[in-house]
């Protein structure tokens, strides 16, 4: 798979502060890539550098083989960008906005078709200042597609939207992928990334702390799969002795780490032979969010400790 975006040793400094501190990643053509990180981690700065809206301090960046800062004009004809909190001319309707972009990009898209795609057809003739937050975001999405882009940059496209509007945006993102476009997505919602992206990178304090497919990141940084069940403390003790596995007990629940999926069967038979009461059997698996919180938290703890050490 050819790469749509290539980033090597990217650095962006504001004075002495390094907002982006030497990052590398590649986004394959046609992939949905999620760029994650807490607020102020360097997500938006990186995204804006890729979009050609911000100049980098150093490093090499190629988007569709072009340098976004010096070759912005040809690049912008081939990418679509929806910024956070999309704003537009207040008295202009979605149909007119698309006609405006269509004239600027000199394309032949049909406003009705495009608005139907983002589920905004019913607001075709409504002025921008009367649209809801989700509808505005959908118009941003539609405008970003006016030039039939090869890469779509979506910077927190669903932040602040209600669950229904978020799902509508997700549907469009899936559609974009089906159409073979590359999607570069930043988001706060980890489940969104897990659901949509085949590749993610987590940035923190300007550095990438984990990258790869979500499942691999979870495998590498997450806790092993666990089985959890409710029962008396003796049950935990019984399982620890019977199985030789790592068992913890807290608030009426025993949690047993699985080193192998067949451990699950052994646990169940050991529970049965114990004769002790039990209920509410669950298997636990770390989500991307658990991993994210753990990784970011660990880094911050580490930073605190190293600051405390003279």
């Amino acid at each position: 798979m050819a790469s749509a975006i290539e980033v090597h040793g990217l650095v962006k400094r504001y004075g002495s502060l390094a907002a982006v501190d030497g990052i590398d990643f590649t986004v394959g053509s046609g992939a949905v890539f999620a760029f994650l990180g807490p607020n102020g981690a360097g997500k938006t700065t990186t995204t804006e550098i890729l979009e050609g809206l911000r100049r980098r301090t150093s490093g090499d960046v190629r988007v569709l083989g072009l340098d976004p800062w010096t070759e912005g004009r040809p690049l912008h004809r081939r990418i679509g960008v929806i910024p956070q909190d999309f704003r537009f001319f207040e008295k202009i309707t979605p149909k007119e906005a698309i006609e405006y972009y269509r004239a600027l990009f000199h394309t032949a898209v049909d406003p009705g078709e495009l608005l139907a795609k983002v589920e905004l057809l019913d607001k075709m003739h409504a002025r921008f200042d009367t649209l809801s937050g989700g509808q505005k975001q959908k118009l941003g999405l539609a405008l970003a597609l006016t030039n039939n882009p090869e890469i779509c940059f979506l910077d927190e496209p669903t932040t602040g939207l209600d669950p229904h509007a978020r799902r509508a945006i997700w549907a469009v993102i899936r559609e974009l992928k089906r159409e073979g476009r590359t999607v570069f997505l930043t988001t706060h919602y980890l489940e969104e990334a897990e659901l949509l992206a085949e590749q993610v990178a987590i940035i923190h304090h300007g550095r990438i702390i984990a990258a790869g497919p979500p499942s691999e990141i979870i495998r590498a940084h997450g806790l092993p799969a666990r089985i959890s069940l409710e029962g008396p403390p003796q049950l935990a003790e019984h399982l620890r002795l019977a199985l030789g596995l790592n068992v913890t007990y807290e608030a009426g629940r025993a949690e047993i780490e699985l080193s192998d999926k067949r451990d699950a069967l052994k646990i169940l038979s050991a529970v049965e032979t114990s004769g002790l009461p039990w209920q509410s059997f669950q298997t636990l698996q770390d989500t991307l969010e658990d991993v994210f919180v753990r990784l970011v938290g660990r880094m911050d703890d580490g930073a605190l400790k190293s600051e405390a050490t003279p």
């Binding site: 911000r54 704003r87 537009f88 001319f89 008295k91």
Partner: protein, 376 residues
């Protein structure tokens, strides 16, 4: 520069404008208000005669034989005042002692008392004094009344001495004998709107579009900054043409202005907005925040608003201010319009036009350079 891009942007600007009632008010209704207001205030109390309340304290005023005893000397005196067309006598019955306070209560700034025995004294060639009340705060009415009374008194004195006036005078205005204040006001007010309408909105647009990320949006399209700014210039040229038309119409309709819409006016209605759209954009781009943008805009706009010949002729200002006015771009726009509309002085108009045009090109280029779609 692509015309398709400029045209597409122009359409968006026009639609936004027509859907904004405040903007429409300022371009369609406000010019009429402006012309009416300044026409009334500065054309000298509406152009009509000053009402002069008069106390006639000479009830026994004798009849004048020269009128075959049909009118009294007092009535003749009043008729003479009225015939100046500068004042209109309104005889009131108020005691002479309380006349001054009565005038104050009624908000009159002028008044006149004809003393007891005025008629008798006149027939016997004895002196008597009419009393004129004036208020220094209303210099215009005071001057008018004093002038009229003085003229009529002189006439009566001449007549009593059987004299004949030898020296007379007639009045004429500069430019053409028929021009009045409103004729000078119209080019000034057109200049006023050429200045204020683009300046205020471009300064605001420059900072608010940046804040709202609209410039960012546009930077991601093939629209260039020069195309964007050109579309704004064209829009304000269109607005200026409409506003100037309305102002001319209102001036002619309401005040009988004598200016005509000569073709020579057109270059100024194009180059003027070109200059001030660019200047507004430059001012708004240099500023870091919307607040400082508004401040810079005001610092540039306000001196020009009053000192470029908008409401007051530059030639009537003190020498120092006149020199200062020659550094104000709007001065050349208004002077140029005066030259073509009133004096038919083409060489001077061409000079003014050249100054504004060269300035416009420089400011336009500076605005393009300083206003950034994107951050560093």
């Amino acid at each position: 520069m692509k015309f398709r891009h400029i045209g597409a942007d122009f359409k968006v600007v026009a639609r936004s404008y027509f859907r904004n009632p405040i903007a429409l008010f300022f371009s369609l209704i406000f010019p009429i208000i402006l012309v009416s207001l300044f026409g009334l205030i500065l054309s000298g109390a509406g152009g009509g005669p000053v009402t002069l309340p008069v106390v006639n304290a000479d009830p026994g005023c004798p009849l004048d034989p020269a009128t075959h005893n049909t009118t009294t000397y007092c009535q003749e005196f009043f008729a003479a005042l009225n015939s100046t067309h500068a004042v209109r006598v309104d005889v009131v019955s108020v005691a002479p002692d309380s006349f001054a306070s009565w005038l104050g209560q009624k908000d009159y700034t002028v008044g006149l008392i004809v003393p007891p025995g005025f008629g008798q004294n006149y027939t016997h060639l004895q002196p008597s004094n009419v009393t004129v009340f004036t208020n220094p705060q209303d210099a215009a009415s005071s001057g008018t009344v004093l002038g009229a009374v003085q003229g009529v008194v002189n006439g009566f004195n001449l007549r009593a001495a059987n004299g004949t006036p030898i020296l007379g005078f007639s009045t004429s205005n500069i430019g053409s004998p028929v021009y009045t204040y409103i004729d000078y006001l119209i080019p000034g007010l057109i200049g006023f709107s050429i200045l204020t309408s683009p300046m205020f909105s471009m300064v605001d647009i420059a900072s608010s579009y940046r804040k709202d990320g609209i410039f960012r949006e546009l930077s991601l399209t093939p629209l260039s900054r020069a195309e964007w700014l050109t579309s704004r210039v064209l829009w304000y040229v269109a607005i200026t043409l409409v506003t100037a038309g309305i102002m001319l119409g209102a001036g002619i309709e309401l005040f009988g202005a004598h200016v005509t819409f000569t073709l020579g006016l057109l270059p100024f209605l194009v180059v003027g907005p070109f200059f001030f759209v660019s200047l507004g954009m430059l001012a708004g781009s240099i500023a870091k925040t919307p607040e400082s943008a508004a401040l810079i805009g005001n610092i540039i706009t306000f001196p020009m608003m009053f000192l470029s010949g908008t409401f007051f002729q530059v030639s009537s200002m003190p020498a120092g201010l006149q020199t200062f006015a020659h550094f104000l771009p709007l001065y050349y726009v208004i002077d140029g319009m005066n030259q073509v509309m009133l004096f038919s002085n083409t060489p001077q108009a061409l000079y003014d036009l050249t100054v504004v045009l060269v300035g416009s090109v420089l400011v336009f280029l500076a605005a393009i350079r300083f206003f950034k779609w994107r951050d560093e």
